[in-house]
C-alpha cells in the first residue's frame, strides 16, 4: 500500500508492503542510499536514521511503524545545526577509512549531541556502542564527537 512519509523535510510516497523495513524503502524506493545495510538485525548501526530526532535502526523498523514521524537521514543531516557540526568535525579529522559505517555513526553522534551537548567518554561509549566500524576508526570517532562538542582544541 502507499505510505505517506516525511523524509528530510519533504513529503514522499512509498508504495510497498507493510513489513518492508524503512531501510529498504529509503534505499530502493526513494533512492536515498546514504543509509546503509550492514546486518539487518539491529547489531551494527549502519542503518541509523532519526525518527522525530531519536536514533532508530531502519533495518528493523517496518514502514507501517513510522506513522507520521519526521525521518531524517544522512542526506538531511546538514539541515540540523548539530548534524552540520558533526559532519564538519568528521571532515576535519578525516574520521573515515572505507566510510561505509560513517552515515550511521554521524546520525548516532548527532542524536547524542542534540541531547547531551557535553558528553563524557562514558556517555560516548554508551551512545555509540551500537555502531560498528569494521575499519575501527573509533579513536577518531571519539575525537570528532569531542570536537563537535567544542571539547578539545
Amino acid at each position: 500500500m502507499a505510505y505517506e512519509l516525511n523524509v528530510n523535510g519533504k513529503a514522499m510516497t512509498a508504495d510497498v508492503d507493510a513489513d518492508t523495513p524503512l531501510l529498504w524503502v529509503l534505499r530502493d524506493t526513494l533512492g536515498l542510499v546514504g543509509t546503509k545495510y550492514g546486518c539487518g538485525i539491529a547489531q551494527c548501526g549502519a542503518c541509523t536514521v532519526h525518527a522525530d530526532g531519536a536514533p532508530i535502526r531502519a533495518c528493523v523498523t517496518p514502514i507501517e511503524a513510522i506513522g507520521g514521524a519526521q525521518i531524517t537521514t544522512i542526506e538531511g543531516a546538514a539541515s540540523l545545526e548539530v548534524g552540520a557540526r558533526v559532519q564538519q568535525a568528521w571532515s576535519e579529522l578525516d574520521v573515515a577509512q572505507c566510510g561505509y559505517c560513517q552515515p550511521g555513526q554521524i546520525m548516532s553522534a548527532t542524536a547524542l549531541l542534540a541531547e547531551n551537548p557535553a558528553p563524557s567518554d562514558a556517555d560516548i561509549d554508551a551512545a555509540m556502542a551500537g555502531n560498528i566500524c569494521r575499519c575501527a576508526t573509533y579513536v577518531r570517532i571519539r575525537a570528532a564527537i569531542k570536537r563537535a562538542a567544542g571539547q578539545e582544541a
Binding site: 510497498v16 508492503d17 518492508t20 523495513p21 529498504w24 534505499r27 530502493d28 524506493t29 533512492g31 536515498l32 542510499v33 546514504g34 543509509t35 546503509k36 545495510y37 550492514g38 546486518c39 539487518g40 538485525i41 547489531q43 551494527c44 549502519a46 537521514t73 544522512i74 542526506e75 543531516a77 546538514a78 559532519q87 568528521w90 571532515s91 576535519e92 578525516d94 573515515a96 577509512q97 572505507c98 566510510g99 561505509y100 559505517c101 560513517q102 552515515p103 554521524i106 560516548i124 561509549d125 554508551a126 555509540m128 556502542a129 551500537g130 555502531n131 560498528i132 566500524c133 569494521r134 575499519c135 575501527a136 576508526t137 573509533y138 579513536v139 577518531r140 570517532i141 571519539r142
Partner: protein, 729 residues
C-alpha cells in the same frame, strides 16, 4: 594540524579512460573522458593519469581500488607533487579496470606504496616536463631555463609566466619523456607528500552520497538475492520456485547449475525482483533442499582431533632444519613444550558482497566493489563463455576489503543472474550470506618445543605446524614460509608441517599468515623468556642480536637492526618495566610483514571475572623514510591495531560442513567502548616508503596475550579469548 582539502569528482561509473596510441615508459598518451568531446574547454590529457583543464583544474586518475586504505588520495598525491600543482586544484577520478593503461590494479599486500612510489612520481614529473616543453616552444627558450611554481611555468630571466591551464593543449602534443629519465624533487621541496591530507571522498562520505558498490542504480534495474548451500559447493536438489514467484514484486526465480570452484559461480537459486526486500522475501520461501556433499561431515571438533593425531605423528614434511634440534633440546638447561591454536575468521566487510551487472550489446558491464578487478573480469568471461574484451569492470569504492574482495565470486553470480534475467541486476548478499560464504582466515595448530641454556638464551626451536591442504597443495593462505622469524636467528631451528583436507574456502585476511603466525611465535618467545627468567624485551633483543640485515637484500631479507630499533622505541615509550597494580600487565611483541617493521606494547586489565580490556597500545613503526599522508597513515595503524584486538574475540566454527555463525550477534566485532588509546611513533629510517594497510596488525595480538600473562600468570595458547579461563583464582 595543517590540513589541505580538495573536492572529489562525483560518482561517475561511466567515466572511462579511452586508449589512443602508445606511449613512452608504458604510458598511454591520450586520454579522454567519456561523453566529452575534444572541445577547447575540455581537459587536455598529458598521459593516462593526468588531464589539465584550461582553468588549471587537474584531474588525476587513481589506478587502484579504494577499500578504505586511502589509495584514491595517496596515489594522486604522488603525481600531484611532481607535477607541481596545488592540491586544492586536483580532482581525483577512480580508474576502471584497464590493465593496458594501468598495469596491475589491485588492493592487496600493502603493495601500492612500494610499487608506485617511484613510478607515479615519475608520471607526475613527466607531465611537468611536457608542460615545460610546451612553454619552451612558445617562448623560444631552453626547457632547462624554466622552473615551476604550483600550476605555473616560470621563465625567471624574462619574467614570463604561463599557467598549466594555458599550456595544457600544447603540452598534450609534446613527446612524453622516458619515465626513468625525468628528475624528481628532493624531499625537502615537497609541498604535498608528507602533509596530512583528508581523503578525497570525505565530503561525499559524510553527506551520504552514492559511492559504494551497493549504492549503484541503473535505469530499469532489478534486484537479486542468491541462495547457496550452507555446505560449500553442494548442489540444489529441489526448490519451491513457485513459492518464491508468488511473493509480490518477484519477477523470476531460477536454479543455477553452477560449478565447483569456490572463486566462481557455485550452485544456487536466484530470485530476481523489483526490490531487494521482495527478492529476499521470495528467497526465504524457496525451501531449498541441498544434495549431499563430500564435506558435509566436517567440523571444527573433527579438525582439532585430526590435528592432535597429526601433531603426535611423524611430520608430513620438514620445511627447514638448521643445526640439530633434538641434540640441542636434550642438551638444554630447560625445555618448554606448548600447543597453540587459532580459529577460522571471517572478513566481515561492513558492506556485504554485492555487484551490479548489465548485459547489453553483447557485452557484460559490471560495477563491483573489488580488490582485484582483472581476475574478476576473467572469471565472468569464463563463466558466461564471453571473450574477456566483452566484459567491462568498473571499480566502485568498497565498504572494506581486508582481503575478502580479492575473490570475485559475487561478480560471477551477478553476471550470470543479470544475463539470465535480461535486465540490469543488483545482487546484494545478506550479512548471513556474507559470513557463511567467505574465504576464511584458516585455523591453525602449532606444536612448539623450545630449549634454553643456563643464561636464558634460546638454544633450540621446533615448530610442528598442522594446517590444511591435500597432497602438495596447501589450502590458500594456510602456509608458512621457512624464513619466518625466528628462522635464521636460532642455530637449531626446525619447521615441520602436516596437513589435513578441508572443505571450507580459505583466503587472505589482512596481513595473511602474519595475523596468526605472529601470535604463536611471539607468544612462545615470551614463554621461553619467562622460563629462562629473562625480561621479554631483553629476550627479544638477544634473539635479534647484532645481525643487521639477514638475507639477500632489503626486499627479501629481514633487517634485525631495524626491528631492534622499534623494539627499543616501543619499550621506551611505554615505560617498559614500571611496576603495575595486580591484574594489570604489559606485553610486547614485534613482527615484520609487508616490508614494515613493527613492535607494539599493550597494556591490559583483566577483571576478576576474566574479562579482558586493552587500555592502551604503543606502536613503534619503521616504514621507511617518508610517510606519504600522516593523516591516513595514523588511521591505518589505529584501525589495524583495533582490528587485531577484535580478532581475538571472535571465531568461525564449522559443524556438519557449515559455518555456525551468521551475523554480528554470534561473530562479534570490537565496539567503541572496548577501543584502546593508541600512541604511534615512527622511526624514519633511510629506506623507501612502504605500505601501512596491514603490518601494524600482527604484533598486537601477541602483545595482548603476553600482557594477559603479565597480568594474570595465565598463558593464552588458544584463541578466541575465553573469560572463564582468565578469571581470578
Amino acid at each position: 594540524m595543517g590540513i589541505i582539502s580538495n573536492i572529489t569528482e562525483g560518482f561517475s561509473p561511466s567515466r572511462r579512460a579511452v586508449l589512443a596510441g602508445g606511449g613512452a615508459g608504458g604510458l598511454v598518451l591520450a586520454f579522454s573522458l567519456a561523453g566529452k568531446g575534444a572541445a577547447a574547454d575540455t581537459p587536455a590529457a598529458l598521459n593516462a593519469y593526468v588531464a589539465v583543464a584550461p582553468d588549471g583544474i587537474v584531474t588525476i586518475v587513481s589506478k587502484n581500488p579504494e577499500i578504505g586504505q586511502g589509495i584514491k588520495t595517496s596515489l594522486p598525491m604522488l603525481i600531484a607533487e611532481e607535477l607541481d600543482v596545488d592540491w586544492v586544484n586536483v580532482r581525483t577520478v577512480q580508474a576502471d579496470n584497464d590493465p593496458v593503461a594501468y598495469g596491475r590494479q589491485f588492493a592487496g599486500g600493502s603493495m601500492a606504496t612500494p610499487l608506485h612510489w617511484d613510478q607515479l612520481r615519475q608520471v607526475g614529473a613527466a607531465g611537468r616536463a611536457m608542460l615545460l616543453a610546451a612553454a619552451a616552444a612558445d617562448w623560444g627558450v631552453e626547457a632547462a631555463s624554466l622552473t615551476t611554481e604550483p600550476g605555473v611555468v616560470v621563465h625567471a630571466a624574462s619574467r614570463r609566466r604561463a599557467t598549466y591551464g594555458a599550456l595544457a593543449a600544447k603540452a598534450a602534443t609534446q613527446t612524453a619523456p622516458e619515465l626513468s629519465s625525468v628528475p624528481l624533487k628532493d624531499a625537502s621541496a615537497y609541498r604535498i607528500i608528507g602533509q596530512p591530507i583528508p581523503q578525497v571522498d570525505t565530503a561525499a562520505i559524510v553527506t551520504g552520497q552514492p559511492l559504494f558498490g551497493i549504492d549503484m542504480r541503473l535505469p530499469g534495474m532489478l534486484y537479486a538475492a542468491y541462495a547457496k548451500a550452507p555446505v560449500f559447493g553442494a548442489k540444489v536438489a529441489s526448490a519451491d520456485l513457485a513459492a518464491a514467484q508468488g511473493v509480490k514484486g518477484v519477477r523470476r526465480a531460477f536454479v543455477v547449475e553452477g560449478g565447483t570452484e569456490f572463486d566462481g559461480l557455485l550452485p544456487g537459486v536466484a530470485v530476481v525482483a523489483d526490490s531487494w526486500w521482495a527478492a529476499n522475501k521470495g528467497r526465504q520461501g524457496l525451501n531449498v533442499q541441498w544434495a549431499d556433499h563430500s564435506t558435509s561431515s566436517q567440523s571444527t571438533q573433527g579438525y582439532a582431533g585430526q590435528a592432535r593425531s597429526l601433531a603426535e605423528a611423524k611430520a608430513g614434511k620438514t620445511l627447514r632444519h638448521d643445526g640439530d634440534v633434538e641434540a640441542a633440546l636434550s642438551g638444554s638447561a630447560k625445555t618448554v613444550e606448548a600447543d597453540y591454536f587459532y580459529p577460522f575468521l571471517s572478513h566481515a566487510t561492513l558492506e556485504p558482497q554485492n555487484c551490479t551487472a548489465h548485459f547489453h550489446d553483447g557485452k557484460m558491464e559490471i560495477w563491483a566493489p573489488t580488490q582485484l578487478p582483472e581476475p574478476g573480469r576473467q572469471i565472468v568471461a569464463k563463466t558466461l563463455g564471453l571473450a574477456p574484451e566483452n566484459v567491462i569492470v568498473h571499480m566502485t569504492r568498497s565498504g572494506g576489503g581486508f582481503g575478502r574482495r580479492l575473490m570475485n565470486d559475487y561478480m560471477a553470480e551477478a553476471a550470470w543472474i543479470a544475463k539470465e534475467a535480461g535486465a540490469p541486476v543488483k545482487l546484494v548478499w545478506t550479512r548471513e550470506d556474507d559470513m557463511r560464504h567467505d574465504f576464511y582466515r584458516p585455523a591453525g595448530f602449532h606444536h612448539f618445543r623450545g630449549g634454553i641454556d643456563d643464561a636464558g638464551n634460546v638454544t633450540a626451536w621446533a615448530n610442528h605446524f598442522v594446517t590444511f591442504g591435500e597432497g602438495e597443495a596447501t589450502a590458500r593462505s594456510a602456509g608458512m614460509a621457512p624464513t619466518e622469524f625466528p628462522a635464521r636467528f636460532i642455530d637449531n631451528y626446525r619447521l615441520d608441517v602436516s596437513m589435513m583436507p578441508l572443505g571450507v574456502p580459505t583466503g587472505p585476511l589482512r596481513a595473511p599468515g602474519s595475523n596468526a603466525i605472529a601470535f604463536v611465535v611471539q607468544s612462545f618467545i615470551d614463554e621461553l623468556a619467562h622460563a629462562g627468567g629473562v625480561d621479554p624485551v631483553e629476550m627479544r633483543l638477544r634473539l635479534l642480536g647484532d645481525r643487521g640485515l639477514v638475507g639477500d637484500d632489503a626486499r627479501s631479507g629481514y633487517d634485525a637492526a631495524r626491528m631492534a630499533a622499534v623494539v627499543r622505541l616501543a619499550a621506551e615509550k611505554s615505560a617498559w618495566g614500571e611496576g603495575l597494580e595486580p591484574r594489570r600487565g604489559k606485553g610486547i611483541a614485534f613482527h615484520y610483514s609487508h616490508l614494515g617493521y613493527f613492535a607494539e606494547v599493550a597494556e591490559v586489565v583483566v577483571a576478576e571475572d576474566g574479562t579482558v580490556k586493552v587500555e592502551k597500545v604503543w606502536v613503534a613503526a619503521d616504514v621507511g623514510r617518508q610517510i606519504i599522508n600522516p593523516l591516513g597513515a595514523l588511521n591505518q595503524i589505529e584501525g589495524s591495531v583495533i582490528d587485531g584486538i577484535s580478532e581475538m574475540f571472535g571465531e568461525i566454527t564449522i559443524k556438519d560442513g557449515q559455518v555456525e555463525q551468521g551475523n554480528f550477534d554470534t561473530f562479534p566485532l570490537l565496539r567503541i567502548d572496548a577501543a584502546p588509546v593508541i600512541e604511534t611513533h615512527f622511526i624514519k629510517s633511510d629506506n623507501p616508503p612502504t605500505g601501512l594497510g596491514e603490518p601494524a596488525l600482527p604484533p598486537v595480538v601477541p602483545a595482548v596475550t603476553n600482557a594477559i600473562f603479565a597480568a594474570t600468570g595465565k598463558r593464552v595458547r588458544s584463541l578466541p579469548l575465553r573469560a572463564e579461563e582468565l578469571a581470578a583464582g
